[in-house]
Symmetry: D2
Subunit: 147 residues, 4 copies
Amino acid sequence: MSDPGEAQARAEAARDAMFANDRVAHELGMVVSAVSPSTATVDMTVTETMCNGLDVCHGGVIFSLADAAMAFASNGLGGTHLASDASIDWLAPARVGDRLTATATESARRGRTGLFQVEVHGPDGVVAIFRGKTKMVSSDGPAPAPS
Amino acid sequence: MSDPGEAQARAEAARDAMFANDRVAHELGMVVSAVSPSTATVDMTVTETMCNGLDVCHGGVIFSLADAAMAFASNGLGGTHLASDASIDWLAPARVGDRLTATATESARRGRTGLFQVEVHGPDGVVAIFRGKTKMVSSDGPAPAPS
Amino acid sequence: MSDPGEAQARAEAARDAMFANDRVAHELGMVVSAVSPSTATVDMTVTETMCNGLDVCHGGVIFSLADAAMAFASNGLGGTHLASDASIDWLAPARVGDRLTATATESARRGRTGLFQVEVHGPDGVVAIFRGKTKMVSSDGPAPAPS
Amino acid sequence: MSDPGEAQARAEAARDAMFANDRVAHELGMVVSAVSPSTATVDMTVTETMCNGLDVCHGGVIFSLADAAMAFASNGLGGTHLASDASIDWLAPARVGDRLTATATESARRGRTGLFQVEVHGPDGVVAIFRGKTKMVSSDGPAPAPS
């Protein structure tokens, strides 16, 4: 873990392996625009199918975006990390066409437990704040993507 | 609000209006199997496209199911209610083919603010516990579904 | 665990052992008015020293009351259970002289992990809703109170 | 609000007014070691009376410390701000004699609603992470301390 280049390569390999297998991320049009050990940025554009009858994006879709950012950030550390709990505050609506960016950072770590904060921003500022907890359940990382 | 039959009819009308416009609920195959003023039950079967590479259902999908149950329960009260924040604890994995049932009940109310608890059960017991808060933003209910 | 009378006796013994050593509970004037395996009720009267300059009870004091109810409920199951996280929604202020009652019940259990919901009521209705998670860290219960 | 010196003076005046009236803060030996508009640091040493029978500090006491830091940070902005909800993750125990430092910062703001993150550190690292939400209920600040 002491070589920064190696740690970064591991984070990128974990991203590739996870992303290849993540059908929800693909369906929602997510892009992992940055990753490092313990941080990740995931982007997505709000589409009509993500919205309710008032063309406001479902809270669960914004939650899924933030949850994905936490998954890439935590698994970027090496090993397999699963979320045990999370919370979200929705501060402003997101609408069709809005480009949303979720940025996950690690707030604290004690052993196998990590706490992450994810900020979701849209074109007019912050949309939601997400907080989640992960547990490392295995020292093996995500399986590589099928070639 | 004093006539129970009228309140129940209002809850069912809100369900119909919301469900008709909810593309996420349709795409995920959700069914609103019961609704009353302040309670709702929503069912869904886990499919491959909801899962990660390990065939475990995404936490965000389970969150969306619970969030939908809260939306139907709160808007069943009359008026338009939006979620301001929510939290979830995932207690067991859900897998492809599992039928999940989310049951929302109101824990407390103070004026326009309601607190809801949602239990998500699968074939082997509880899968997740969700807690959310709603605010009534309008005394008008959801717009009726287009005929 | 199969004998209800034995389980109830164990819950009461845990309450006695914990309460004897809990200086915060004593200082705040808490009374454990009921306990069973997985449930507990704790009462407290709001005093001037619990309040801010507006004679409104501190949110942290209400949190402590709810947290105590969860501790008695979870340790009433047998073994030693520690809280790992918790959240609270304050719905109405509590004032000097108000008698508050916190009632803890178990919402869900998976192995060593328990989820609890605690409702705090005052003379005018619900004051706060608390949700917490516990982990059983030992199969031994709290040490008996010194005689 | 545009003069930084004036904003800082307002934050310090709010701290003085609140602290003078806060009997819980005095009883627990809290010291407000830093304050600015939207940030605050509060310190406290764990004493025997804050602990359970195992000489581990009560979670509710750590919560109260973090909650106080959020109160000084939010009211430092001008106006009166009340907490509506909060959550805490306890990551490591605190013991008798430990000096704890709670540092509150604003994560996001939308109108009258502010989200705060509070980190509680002890001599061996992070002890707890707290997240809370405040609402500005009046544009008047806390009443000045009696002279």
